[in-house]
């Protein structure tokens, strides 16, 4: 059962504006408001950025006001708390009147990156939502039990839904959890005492990351922006990917194998940095997952809540996807798991989609010409190879570089392809920090990885750890930002394209987008200096602006932040709301506000963005977070966790080499 919300601006029909409608599948909460981060965007000055919220519980739909300026009205009455919205009543928000109806199934599908999808081959055409499938609202499950900040174990047992009690539970089935569990296993914890709850149907820890990589045009043989020692399958970082690749090449009689190690020797000053092939990274994950018994620890489920228990532990409520449940009863599908030690690594909640491109897709639901680089969009390149055409790329950075490379490859098959590249402003000079300046070339700042290298373990790591929160935000803005890898081949593609006339870069903001004779016309805003109209006419637009790091779009985290009043990190920038970033963790990656006596919760990945460690969204950063939190467990004398001195470390390394279980 899904709901359809349709809305119309009062008095707007005279101007020819048609009403719009959206189908929302799931229980919500769905957010309504002016800001583009809402599920349902209502563009009007009378609408607050975060205006209202809708939740669905069976056939009961509730709407609540989120503290808006002008209020939310149900049947003409301004509401204060959650109010039932029935299909025969209209809701007023600003100048909009919203109607509701129930529909059997959601025809259009969102493109959630957090949810399990097997829709790699799904058509590009579809709704313009790149939002995560919202988790079921608390009212349905886990219900009133989770209205409490501390849940009594007796009440929990009375539900009869406790699926198990363990010492260690990882929330999230991706790379962050994998690194944590890998450390736990190697430090001595048996697989039987660990559970991982992941939402994907696919148990492979790199399923979501790999899907995003494939969508953003990284085929298996391509190299990723990662380093030789960023080996998620090996906690020691040795042997790295470079030496493994060298050995394999040499065994096959290819002397080119030496090149990889020479690269590591000279990088980044004398040679271009070594980067591993993504196919090798996938395979190394598989081997290590097998070795540590990953599949046996993995539980399919969408985590919908986490609470402290009255016995110094935590309860995690999760919902088993229908495809994985033994039967469809709620007893089987809605479960609790109890643990003393938890790690949260839920990853990026969604990919970014520029608001004007979203609007265009709203207005042209049948068009497959506007795509996000993180959704499946291979058809665009296939069509270009067959028929030629013009592509407009929005945004700079690593994904833009990949897409440009893919278009360059398409041009090998069809020379009738042209590329327009739209970025907000030129970049001629890189940022300065201390005595150095970052390279900038072809209007993008370039560095081997997404942070300066020493942010992972050297002087910049120490600098950031010791910085005050305000200083931290400033340093992170200085070291990070939008950059691409300093790959010579990418620079040459752009320089060749500029020379040959099939690549051109434009600067500015978008004033309007229209469709004209099957082409999309993007009009740039005029500026004080340049008042002429500039129209960019393209057959396709690819949004390369990246992933959304707004973690409170993950309902689980939003609920935790609210329930336990968790501190947030602040990013540099404008507006207090906009600057809210990851959940504040200490240097061991623990979330202090969630400590429950002997029970502790750690976090890893983008959940901790803008905290005491910069490079959280990288393999090496995930390994660092895992090491710090598992070392913390060792200091807490947690069951089976070794202090991991040199001899234990070496013994475990030998086991790794021999492929024996830890």
């Amino acid at each position: 059962m899904a709901i359809e919300i349709s809305w119309q601006e009062q008095g707007a029909s005279a101007t020819g504006s048609d009403g719009q409608r959206r189908i929302l599948d799931g229980n919500g909460p769905f957010h309504l408001g002016r800001s583009s981060s809402n599920t349902l965007v209502l563009e009007h000055p009378q609408v607050s950025r975060a205006h209202a919220e809708v939740t669905v519980d069976g056939r009961t739909v509730r709407i609540s006001d989120r503290g808006s300026q002008n209020g939310t009205f149900v049947g003409g009455q301004r509401i204060s708390g959650p109010t039932v919205w029935s299909p025969d009543t209209q809701v007023g928000i600003g100048p909009f009147l919203l109607s509701l109806r129930f529909v059997e199934a959601a025809a259009p599908r969102p493109i959630p990156i957090a949810a399990a999808t097997r829709d790699d081959r799904a058509p590009v055409a579809g709704p313009p939502i790149v939002r995560p499938a919202a988790a079921p609202a608390r009212s349905a499950f886990p219900g009133r039990l989770f209205d409490q900040r501390i849940v009594p174990m007796a009440d929990l047992r009375a539900t009869g839904r406790i699926a198990g009690e363990y010492n260690y539970v990882a929330v999230g089935g991706g790379c962050g959890s994998f690194c944590w569990v890998d450390h736990l296993r190697i430090f001595g914890v048996p697989a039987s005492d660990i559970r991982v709850i992941g939402v994907a149907d696919d148990k492979r820890p790199y399923a979501k990351w790999g899907r995003l990589c494939r969508n953003s045009q990284i085929p298996d043989h391509e190299r990723i922006r990662s380093n030789s020692i960023s080996v998620p399958d090996n906690i020691w970082g040795f042997p790295g990917y470079a030496s493994r690749e060298m050995v394999r090449d040499l065994l096959q009689g290819r002397l080119v194998g030496f090149k990889h190690v020479i690269q590591v020797f000279g990088e980044p000053a004398l040679t271009e940095s070594y980067t591993p092939r993504i196919g090798d990274v996938y395979r190394s994950f598989d081997v290590e997952a097998e070795r540590i018994g990953w599949n046996d620890m993995f539980l399919h489920g969408q985590v919908v809540g986490l609470r402290k228990t009255d016995d110094e532990r935590f309860v995690v409520a999760y919902r088993v996807p229908s495809s994985q449940a033994p039967d469809q009863s709620s007893d089987q599908r809605e479960r609790f798991i109890v643990a003393r030690y938890i790690q949260l690594a839920t990853g990026y909640p969604a990919s970014n989609f520029l608001p004007d491109l979203q609007d265009f897709r709203h207005a042209h639901p049948d068009s497959n010409a506007v795509v996000n680089a993180y959704e499946p969009h291979d058809e665009v390149y296939r069509a270009l190879e067959q028929k030629g055409g013009t592509v407009l790329i929005r945004g700079r950075g690593i994904v833009a570089s990949r897409v440009i490379q893919r278009i360059w490859e398409a041009r090998e098959k069809n020379k009738d392809i042209r590329l327009l590249h739209l970025v907000r402003s030129p970049v001629k000079k890189g940022q300065k920090y201390d005595l150095a300046r970052r390279d900038a070339r072809n209007d993008v700042e370039q560095q081997p990885f997404n942070w300066p290298k020493s942010a992972w373990g050297g002087t910049l790591r120490v600098r950031l750890e010791r910085a005050s929160p305000e200083e931290r935000a400033r340093l992170l803005a200085n070291w990070g930002g939008t950059t691409t890898a300093d790959r010579e081949d990418w620079n040459q593609i752009i320089e060749q394209g500029t020379r040959e006339g099939w690549y051109k870069i434009f600067y500015g903001n978008v004033a309007a987008m229209t469709e004209k004779a099957g082409k999309i016309v993007t009009r740039l805003e005029s500026t004080a200096e340049y008042q002429e109209n500039v129209d960019l006419v393209a057959d396709y637009i690819v949004d390369c602006t990246g992933l959304i790091a707004k973690i409170d779009e993950t309902p689980l985290l939003a609920d935790l932040i609210k329930t336990y009043d968790l501190a947030r990190n602040r990013a540099a920038g404008q507006g207090a709301e906009l600057r809210l970033s990851g959940i504040a963790v200490n240097t061991a990656f623990e979330i202090p506000g969630l400590q429950n006596g002997r029970g502790h919760v750690w976090a890893a990945g983008v959940v901790t963005a803008n905290g005491p460690y910069a490079a959280v969204d990288s393999f090496l950063g995930l390994q660092y977070a895992a090491l710090r939190s598992v070392d913390h467990l060792g200091a807490l004398r947690a069951p089976s966790v070794s202090r991991f001195g040199p001899l234990k470390s070496a013994r475990e390394w030998v086991k790794w080499c021999l492929g024996r279980a830890p």
């Binding site: 081997p448 290298k453 020493s454 050297g458 240097t587 070392d631």
Partner: protein, 159 residues
């Protein structure tokens, strides 16, 4: 490599204790024709120890300079190529300081003031190759936290 100053010092001492001293002992034994007990008071035996210790001392001082050079790199890193170059440079500095008898003004460590270049070079060569392999990855087998601590030893403090 992404060392901190403290990390440079820790790693240098670690290399000295676990590679420098054992290799030097074997080399000194070889130079003194595997006599047992070792001829501790003869220059042929203790010169290599003085030599390797002087490199350590010079290195500990130069580390302060190296950490400043790092600040000119955007990544604030220390490529392996730099590491190799400066290790060899340290060898030459110490060798020629000894060879020209300059150190005698500081302290008469070498009354006869002379080690043949090839003797010193072989000695340094063994230590260099093993040290380099150690920092390329062998250390990490034993010290899982080393690479995240800029070369410092021990665990991260829990705060």
């Amino acid at each position: 490599m992404i060392p901190t100053l403290l990390g440079r010092w820790h790693t240098r001492l670690l290399l000295y204790v676990f590679i420098g001293l054992p290799v030097t002992f074997l080399y000194a034994m070889y130079l003194s024709a595997w006599q047992w007990p070792p001829p501790f008071t003869q220059s042929v035996f203790y010169y290599p120890f003085l030599f390797i210790t002087l490199i350590l001392v010079l290195g500990l001082v130069l580390d302060v300079l190296y950490i400043q050079i790092q600040r000119f790199n955007w990544d604030q890193d220390w490529p392996f190529a730099y590491q190799a170059f400066f290790m060899v440079l340290e060898f030459f500095i110490v060798f020629y300081l000894m060879d020209y008898g300059i150190l005698d003004y500081v302290y008469p460590l070498f009354p006869d003031g002379y080690i043949p270049f090839s003797t010193a070079a072989w000695h340094f060569g063994f230590v260099f190759v093993l040290s380099f392999l150690a920092i390329l990855g062998i250390f990490q087998i034993f010290l899982v936290r080393w690479r995240f601590k800029g070369g410092e030893l021990g665990r991260h403090p829990i705060r």
